[in-house]
């Protein structure tokens, strides 16, 4: 039962095969058993979840259900949850009990979802392996010696190990898609501005976007229906007409034009991953899609540009952590500067401090043009590459990550090595367009994802392609044996 999708569980709840209270209890039992090893959750909300589940059962019985009524879900610990600890993976917020709910949390609650808990993540979402969390690394459910990816590693591991039905995540440079690839699940980063950032702890405000980590494309579409849409509390939220993201799932792929980026299919990409992608492409071709090559000539500059834009914005966003209003405060400060410096130095981990310093440097007097402005110019070139490619294709298909999940500690020697992990995902954030990762195959017992990218507001099309692929393959149904 716990491995079922949201769509299947919703039907089971409707048929009264199971109640939400029973389902919630079963997930809580599994969390209690497996989480000590996986470390996917930082906080489990047992009592609150059972109360929400009881309410949800009443709502369904009264005929007031939505697809999410009574569905046990998990939130990445970057989303503020009222009266529940919200750490963002940091010591800085080890004591932060949020006074309000993020819009994403509020909307899913209004849809009747049951919140099982808050998932582990790289500190302030800065990382690609979940190893920068103050609360310890998450283990990949497929192989506990490996990372789940990051930064939404806890959410991805929780979905893959059946510790929840579906989870929320955020993606600033690949943080939904890469862990989805490493854990063998589906993840969608929507168009920038499509999902409200209100109450989502800020990392890089011009890139951050929330989205689902799920067991199927259909489930991702259901979650998008619940969370997308204009929010007056987020000034960058877009006023785009509401749509039913499930409406086009069944559409035929006949006539679909797929572009393969020439620079993604090079010697840098593991040959076995290339083979897996070629097999996936054959499936899509058999469903009526055609394939051509496209060029993204500035993709190689996406990582350098990102590591200016993201740290610069992070250095400004994280200036709010000062030991005065909330969060960690150093003991016995000698003066105000000592309070700031020690609170921040004790509260932040090494990677967060590094990025704050890189951003501070890039924004400091005399360097703005050479760094931030230059990066913004490259951002436009990257966006133009995509605009040009989408003149001749509907979606771009490529790898999500250069390889399968790596070992814990393997890429920690130098930050730049870790940064290059996101070479296929970062450009999508810089361009503000939607991208998703879905399971495309297995390599030596580990899942590998493929990435689909589309023009702005093409989420429904991406979900359609993914759903049709999943109707004709069973990679998304593979589950790790977690002991």
């Amino acid at each position: 039962m716990l491995s079922k999708t949201v769509a299947e569980l919703s039907a089971a709840l409707d048929r009264k095969d199971v109640s939400s209270v029973e389902l919630t209890q079963a997930y809580l039992d599994r969390i209690e058993k497996l989480n000590p090893d996986l470390n996917a959750y930082i906080t489990v909300c047992k009592e609150q979840a059972l109360k929400q589940a009881a309410d949800a059962d009443k709502q369904r019985a009264a005929g007031n259900g939505t697809p999410f009524t009574g569905i046990p879900i998990a939130h990445k610990d970057i989303f503020c949850t009222r009266d529940v600890l919200t750490t963002c993976g940091s010591r800085m917020l080890h004591n932060f009990v949020s006074p309000y709910d993020a819009s994403v949390v509020e909307r899913l609650q209004q849809a009747g979802a049951v919140t099982l808990g808050k998932t582990n993540m790289d500190e302030f979402a800065m990382g690609s392996s979940n190893e920068t969390s103050y609360y310890g690394p998450v283990r990949n459910p497929w192989d506990s010696s490996r990372v789940p990816g990051g930064s939404s590693g806890g959410s991805a591991a929780a979905v893959a190990a059946d510790l929840c039905a579906i989870a929320t995540g955020t993606d600033t440079g690949g943080s939904i898609r890469q862990p989805a690839s490493f854990c063998g699940i589906t993840g969608l980063k929507p168009t920038y501005g499509r999902v409200s950032r209100f109450g989502m702890i800020a990392f890089a405000s011009s890139l951050d976007q929330a989205g689902p980590l799920s067991k199927s494309a259909e489930d991702a579409a259901l979650m998008m229906n619940a969370i997308a849409g204009l929010d007056s509390r987020d000034s960058t939220s877009l006023d785009h007409p509401a749509e039913d993201f499930t409406a086009h799932l069944q559409q035929s792929l006949k006539g679909l034009r797929i572009g393969l980026p020439r620079d993604h299919f090079t010697a840098d990409l593991n040959p076995a991953v290339q083979t897996i992608l070629q097999d996936a492409i054959k499936v899509l071709e058999s469903l009526g899609a055609s394939v051509t090559e496209v060029d993204l000539p500035h993709n190689h500059l996406s990582v350098p540009a990102y590591y200016v834009v993201a740290p610069a914005e992070a250095s400004a966003n994280l200036s709010r952590y000062d030991g005065v209003r909330f969060g960690h405060r150093a003991e016995n400060p000698a003066n105000l500067e000592d309070l700031y410096k020690r609170s921040r130095s004790e509260g932040f981990g090494d990677e967060v401090k590094r990025r704050i310093m890189v951003g501070t440097y890039a924004l400091s007097a005399g360097y703005y043009d050479a760094y931030y402005k230059k990066a913004q110019k490259i951002r436009r070139l990257i966006k133009q590459d995509f605009d040009e490619a989408f003149k001749s294709v509907d979606v771009i298909l490529g790898p999500t990550s250069p390889h399968t999940a790596f070992k814990l500690g393997e890429k920690n020697a130098d930050p730049v090595t870790m940064y290059l992990e996101d070479i296929y995902t970062i450009a999508v954030n810089l361009a503000g367009i939607p991208g998703m990762s879905l399971p495309a195959g297995m390599l030596q017992g580990l899942p590998i994802g493929m990435q689909l990218v589309g023009p702005a507001f093409s989420e429904a099309r991406l979900l359609n392609v993914a759903h049709q692929f999943q109707l004709n393959t069973d990679w998304h149904q593979r589950r790790p044996e977690v002991k």
């Binding site: 004591n95 932060f96 006074p99 920038y192 501005g193 011009s206 007056s232 000034s235 960058t236 877009l238 006023d239 500035h298 190689h300 990582v303 350098p304 540009a305 590591y307 200016v308 250095s315 200036s319 030991g323 005065v324 209003r325 405060r329 400060p333 000698a334 003066n335 105000l336 500067e337 000592d338 309070l339 410096k341 921040r344 130095s345 401090k353 590094r354 704050i356 310093m357 890189v358 501070t360 440097y361 400091s364 050479a370 760094y371 230059k374 913004q376 110019k377 490259i378 951002r379 436009r380 070139l381 966006k383 130098d414 930050p415 730049v416 940064y419 810089l430 361009a431 503000g432 367009i433």
Partner: protein, 95 residues
């Protein structure tokens, strides 16, 4: 671009961070590596390109100038490390 320890200490001060002396060499070397990677940006001429601040070149949405927030000071200060009479406490700034 390579930085030296003095540069890094200056940046740390601007960011209100402290670096422990035994760590300074490693911090400097890692930040220098990151800046070297970033310098790949200089490989192309972008003099004719307009900087992109927002993916859709959107401008800030405006709302009517009306008070919509209610006063939640007491609730919000419950999570503050130190308050008194509705004020946040910090070490003495003026002797």
């Amino acid at each position: 671009m390579a930085l030296d320890n003095t540069d890094v200490e200056k940046i740390a001060h601007l960011a209100r961070l402290q670096i422990k002396q035994p760590d300074i060499d490693e911090v400097t070397s890692r930040i220098s590596n990151i800046l070297t990677m970033i310098d790949q940006m200089q490989s192309i001429d972008t003099s004719a390109v307009t900087p992109m601040a927002h993916p859709f070149d959107a401008t800030q949405r405006l709302r009517p100038d009306q008070v919509t927030e209610t006063n939640q000071r007491d609730r919000l200060q419950q999570i503050a490390p130190a308050t008194e009479n509705g004020l946040y406490l910090v070490p003495k700034v003026i002797e």
